[in-house]
Subunit: 129 residues, 2 copies
DNA sequence: TGACTGTTCTATTTGTAATATAACAGTTGT
DNA sequence: ACAACTGTTATATTACAAATAGAACAGTCA
């Protein structure tokens, strides 16, 4: 899977990495149980520090996206994620609220906005990548 | 308008402040042309530093949400915001992509996800606050 | 044995967030 | 004229996060 880091972005590298792995899982580009590169290999590949990759892996592990075996490496969670519970939906909504507010201020009407949401959703689910 | 700062949040104070003002504008709680509290008054009201409020105002000004007159204070942009252009839509999509990916991983189906999007949107536009 | 795995430790550098204090320059109201 | 207010600017400090660096540990595996 191809990973692109934007060093000019104000988004921290480890967050960019975390997001892209989650997006890979959502699109099906990363299959359940699939092994991930070692922290050293991925760091070398991206030209960043091993600890930065490790930070991303640690976050992904804490949120259940990946499994990490201390001497065998990291792999994509082999079984499906737990379905969205109330805590998750609440967190999701908090993250979306300011974004939606901006869209409203910029006069995107409901249909236009929902079209965009639908398009992004299908970008992940349609034809599995 | 009531503003609530969460000091335990990992979201910077000035970002929380920026977001809440944008949300106030989206919901209609803040009317076009309405004056905002001075940086000193709002800082004192919230128990934070004047520079933190000023940072939020500066960001809001740069993105066109408010107008700032050097000696008269800040006010909500009196005329409507420019409609969403391609640059804005692109930025919006970049912000939403990782959030949507999480929702897909957590097995929210399309209808469920779009319902949430619609509910958030209407929270701002329905009955103008 | 040797190459690999994630993990842990200490350390440094860099940048941002938030605070504090002070001053400036231009209204505005008395 | 005066005082009170406005955003702005400057300097400084504290605290913390991001990213890097180098080294070591403990277990796996061919």
């Amino acid at each position: 899977m191809l990973i692109q880091i934007d060093y000019q972005s104000d988004v921290p590298i480890y967050v960019q990495l975390t997001n892209q792995i989650i997006e890979g899982m959502a699109s099906g580009e990363l299959k359940p149980g699939e092994p991930l590169p070692s922290v050293r290999a991925l760091a070398a590949d991206l030209g960043i520090n091993l600890h930065t990759v490790n930070k991303a892996y640690t976050h992904l592990k804490q949120e259940g996206f990946i499994q990490v075996h201390r001497q065998r490496g990291a792999l994509v969670r082999p079984d499906p994620m737990p379905p969205a519970d109330e805590a998750f939906r609440s967190r999701l909504e908090s993250q979306m609220r300011p974004i939606v507010a901006e869209a409203v201020c910029r006069r995107m009407d409901e249909a236009d906005f929902l079209d965009m949401c639908r398009r992004i959703y299908r970008h992940f689910t349609k034809e599995e990548s």
